[in-house]
Amino acid sequence: MKGTYLGEFEEVVLLAVGILHEGAYAVSITKEIEKQSRRTVHVSAVHTALYRLEEKGFLKSHLGEATKERGGKRKRLYTITPFGARALQETMELRQQMWAQVPKIIFQGN
């Protein structure tokens, strides 16, 4: 599909949204990524990625409830759209396709 180019970080963010299913918002996504990939990510980077993904149509968002810790500000919850799911799938397929074509002997020895 055209226009489904997914950067690496964006792919990770998208996957995190998928993992979190309900309750995926910027802070929880950031924590999930940090937990899964053991690298530090700043919440603003995640937010930018979320914003771009929503613009491309891979995510949709809605405003959720506010809590006391958030000073009465609501959180924005993201869910993957079918289009986004399709894009993820295609990316996965591409990886697997190419990975299958790499002769396994490169990784043996050494």
């Binding site: 910027a26 919440v43 603003s44 810790e69 958030r70």
Partner: protein, 870 residues
Amino acid sequence: MLEEIEGDLNELFAERVAAEGERAARQQYAWDVVRYLRPHTLRQSHQTRTPLYTDMLRNYFILAKRNLLQRKLYAGINLVGLSTGIAFCLLIYAFIRHEHSFDRFHADAGRIYRIDYTDRVNVSFQRRTGKFLGSFQALGGLRMCRLPIPLGPALAESVPEVEGMFRFREGTAVLGAAPGVTQQEEVVFADENLFTFFSFRLRSGNPRTVLAGPRSVVLTESLARRYFGEADPIGKPLTVNVGRPETYTVTGVAEEPPGHSSLRFGVLLPLRSEPQYQQYKDEQLNYFAVLTLVKVREGVSPAALGRKLDGFARRYFAENIQAWRKGKLIGPRETGIQVTAMPLPAVHFDNAVMWPRTTSRLYGYILGSVAGLILLIACINYISLALTNAASRTQEVGLRKVMGASRRQVTLQLWVETQVLVAVAVGAGLALALLLLPAFNAFADRQLVVNPFRNPELLGALLGLGLLVGTLAGGYPAALLAGFNPVKVLKSNRTHRFNPALSRGLVVVQYAVCLFLITAALVMYRQMQYVLRKDLGFDQARVLVVENPEKDPARQKRVWERMQQYAAGRPGIAAVAGASASFGKGSMIYFFTINGQNRPVDVFDVDYNYLPLLGIPLVQGRNFSPQHPTDSVRKEAVIINETLARQLGDDARVGEVSQQLKMRVVGIVKDYHYASLEMKIGPALLWLNPSAASTLLVKLTPGHGPGTLAQLAQDWKTMSGGQPFNYSFLDGDISTQYREYSRWMNLLGLAAGFAILVACLGLFGLSGLNAVNRTREVGIRKVLGASVGQVLLLLNRDVVRLAAVSFVLAVPGAWYLMRRWLQDFAYRVEIGPEVFVAAGVAGLLTALLAVSYHSLKAALANPVDSLRSE
């Protein structure tokens, strides 16, 4: 920042505080914010739309109506005040606009200039115009707008920038269409290019030739109808007498000149038929009579024209300039005289010269200020009432905010409420203005029309005024009320106490303005009384002033003789005298060299009966008398007044010839006011001209007035050879001189009255609210033993103090301005303290009256009722 980002950051902050402590958390937070600074994170995107304030407008109108109807009294007070202010503003706007539109209707008005002549040679005296507010004008050298006859054509010839030139002069003539039916009319003698130079319109006749013939006459429609009925007057003969009756031919009928034209005419005659034209048409310097205008070519700037005029003056008056320089009257490099040009649209405001229908710009300013003041008082009323009323609206505002209104929305709602009231006031003001229009037109001597539907400009001004007032009056209370913290207000039950300083300040300003107006009106009134009652040095009672329009000296003399015979047999007529001019109608001015300076002297031609008829006493010498035949030799004998005698000094000895006057002084008469009291009595002299009778003074004996007058009117026709009978009473003439002043006095009085009314209404409202606020206090005091009197004192103490402060503020300004105004008069009253005391007392009493209703009510209230709720 976007809401969710703020929330995220808050959440992270909370976690970090728990994990690392507050300080670290804060640092991280700051860093987070920096990292978040990208365009898409700021509030633009994703945001729910800001509420459209206009959605609520319909609701605001309903609320406004409801609120206003609930508080009918205060709405009513504000309505009265605002509509009065608006009505005044409207009238004065119409007036000022009319003033500024004078003479602009001519097609070439931008290129037309009036030529003035400034005399710097004879600067030893300054003649001030005797007009209202004359002392506020700057005085320069002697500038005149009347020029010698040949100056205009010479200018047009020698200055290439000048495309055309026009001269005119006013005068009177006696017209007759049928024998025996004659009427004296004001006429204008004009150059033949009147209708091509200006944009006056001709109903019939050729604009180029209509004044070309030496015996042509042009009438306006109304005059044509008067003399010729409905018939076409073109080509018909008309008898015109400007010295001798002659037959002229009507060559054109013109439309009435519009209301905003300086130049008005009923009858137009060629300039050449002016009686003194032939004699003085080449007189370069000593005869200043015609008004001269020029039209310049396209693109000529006023500065360029000015330079050309300077050059022209140098050439045209070259000989005179040389003579003056030689006689050391001017310096070797000076020219002594100056020829300047004034653009036509500005001419209407030039009060310093004798141009028809001028006014001072100051009129507009003063009227505008008065209207502005009244409007200001009304707005202050509104603000004060709103502020004091605010306490009762805090709950309303608090509730609205809790329900979700933003501060801006509440402000808007309150402002709409004010605006609705102002809109009603605008309507009421317009109605009021229309109601007052006839009276205002009578006052201002204009024919103004106030019709916003005809003039979109007026409508725009009206709407603009409404918006301005609404914002001015409503803006501050709206902003203040909308700023309430709903939590604080809804929790506590106490009434919010406002800083009373602002309210008090506003009331002080209001009252100071009122006091100022009252003082001004009082001073004017006193001056008027003084002027009307002052002894003028002669007896003005029962003196009839009859104009003798006969110009021919022989015939004039005959009329005079007949009048003497007529009077001799009648008991109703005590005496008849003749003079060249009556009071307030000007005098001749001759220049004499007195004490080395060229000075003007007022000169009157009189007959033998003049001084006795008016009861003017002589301090030395004698009156003219037939027993001294040399008296009647022209200019041989003269009577001077005390002022002139003082100036001449030793030279003025009775019975001897004065060297400076070159005439024999036969008597010195006591100074008397021959002109209005604005001017100091100047040097004057009387010549004997036994049949001087362009004006006849007829003294009537008491008790025979009406009968004698009627008889005289009938007999006049035979005596004067068919001349129309135009008369007035001397005391009436004198008091009309001050008519303008009494008009202004009436206006100021009226304005003061309105201002006081509005201010009192405001005070009334304020005191009502004040009393309500203090019912509990009053109740407690009464319980503790205060009498009604003491409570009254307490409640009114504030008012007295405020009135005192207003007084202190108003007095200096009023005193200074009134002094300047009084300088218009050479003979005036002094502004004594009584005036200020009277104004102050009046102000205080009205203030007390306004508050008395509520303070009495509060003082008499039963404390049980007010304290029951405790």
